[in-house]
Amino acid sequence: MPVLIFIDQSEGQVKKASIEAICYGVAVAEQTGDTAEGVILGKVTDDIAALGKYGLQKIHHVDNEALNHFDAQVFTGAIAQVIDAIKSKVIIFSNNADGKHIAPRLSVKLKAGLVTGAVALPDTTNGFVVKKTVFSGKAFANIAINTDIKIIALNPNSYEITARGDAKAEILSFSAQVGATKVRVTGVNKVKGEVPLSEADIVVSGGRGLRGPENWGMIEELAKLLGAATACSRPVADAHWRPHHEHVGQTGLAIAPNLYIAIGISGAIQHLAGVNRSKTIVVINKDPEAPFFKAADYGIVGDAFEIVPKIIEEVKKLKGVA
């Protein structure tokens, strides 16, 4: 009973998130003593046989014109037929956009328990328990799947990609009955807009310690380099150094980025209320007694006007920007 991995592709090319899912699925198969197989839908240009190097033995390719555009309902139907044919009991998706469309539908169709946002291999010592992120990354839950067929959607960037040699996967053409699509794709736009503060992964924020709006250039430069949004403390917004929509805190926006860099902010409790769910907090402040240091993961005690430009230089080196 092979573990089946959904291989997500875009314009014929396999997505990185799917390679993570393959590596994860192969490891699950090792755990349960099964083989790992993949399913891919629609026209493919990549050499998918090469995915064998990650430990995938077979790939079921459903090449049908109706599958060249994404429709979750149609895709779900096709995948369900492959599962039925190979009697797979564990199905792996990436928890990316397409995975979020298909996995829940498949869960209902097969009446198979689903865990999305998985971050570790299942614990099969007593049942089948999958660890997932909850509370937007601030905690984990271990979820038991109590059904015969189990579906896991793996969070992107949570499982390492490792090649295991240079074997080729066997490509098997699978002919599925494909239903009529109810979704017509009319356009794709690959450009993404500016990151809104509430959704930003990285936020660079300035406080009164920056002395005036004319000193925000370095904050903006650092933010741009990091692909970050900019924010500020309340006194800064009150003094009109920055627009009010950048104000984070109790009476501003509450945010939870992966990285929050606070520059010249003392860290009053009202400010912390808006940022204390950030995953990593960096504080740069000249006052060693600033309360923010207690909530920080990393800190530098010193003058922001000397330190921030140096950080910008270091980030440029890291990102390979001249």
Binding site: K138, K279, I300
Partner: protein, 247 residues
Amino acid sequence: MKILVCISKSPDTTAKIAFTDNNTKFATDGVQWIINPYDEWYALVRAIELKEKDASTVIHLVTVGAADADPIIRKALALGGDEAIRVNADTNDSYFIATQIAEVAKQGGYDLVFTGKETIDFNGSSIGGMVAECLEAPYIALAIKFEVEGSKATVTREIEGGEEECEVNLPAVISCQKGMAEARIPNMRGIMAARTRPLKVVEPVAADHLTAVVNFELPPAKAGVKLVPADNPAELVRLLHEEAKVI
């Protein structure tokens, strides 16, 4: 047009995350509850905007929860919505919840079901897709734009590194995120009107639970601040890159 908006109760974004009963339950002491922001700011507000364009639109809200969800659904009614339905069940199994919502949707004959893209507590992002499968309806997740004309909707959804625009026939299920609508704030007129809008409580239909929470874990406690000397910012950048892996 009839729209069903799914509403979930979640802890305030600034709530302290802790667990009790041997880490099997979320510690609710001192927690302020809010409408799941994706349900409120995007799903519900977009529905309200559609009603503002076409006054004949009817908006119903649905939640699956115990009586302690009532203040949250009243708050949602304060923003807008003609009536609310609470399915009286306390669970976090997505399949069970989706089955209940699908049942309400079937009974009500809705043209559209809106959900938030995920809840901020369970981060499942599964309910919309499951409801769609139960209804055999098309499903567009992570929608950032939504327009409707007659029985056809134009939806823009987020894909990796961009956006995709598509057309879909109603009825359909849509999960909503940032971009769908401008967040609104309830005003006093809405708050007072919400008190008299109908809130129907129905008992759940029989359905299985496919999953169960074994327990919760917190990430290892913060070790306290790691101070980097002011003359070595390179070390900070290295730590953020190699240790924290955030840049």
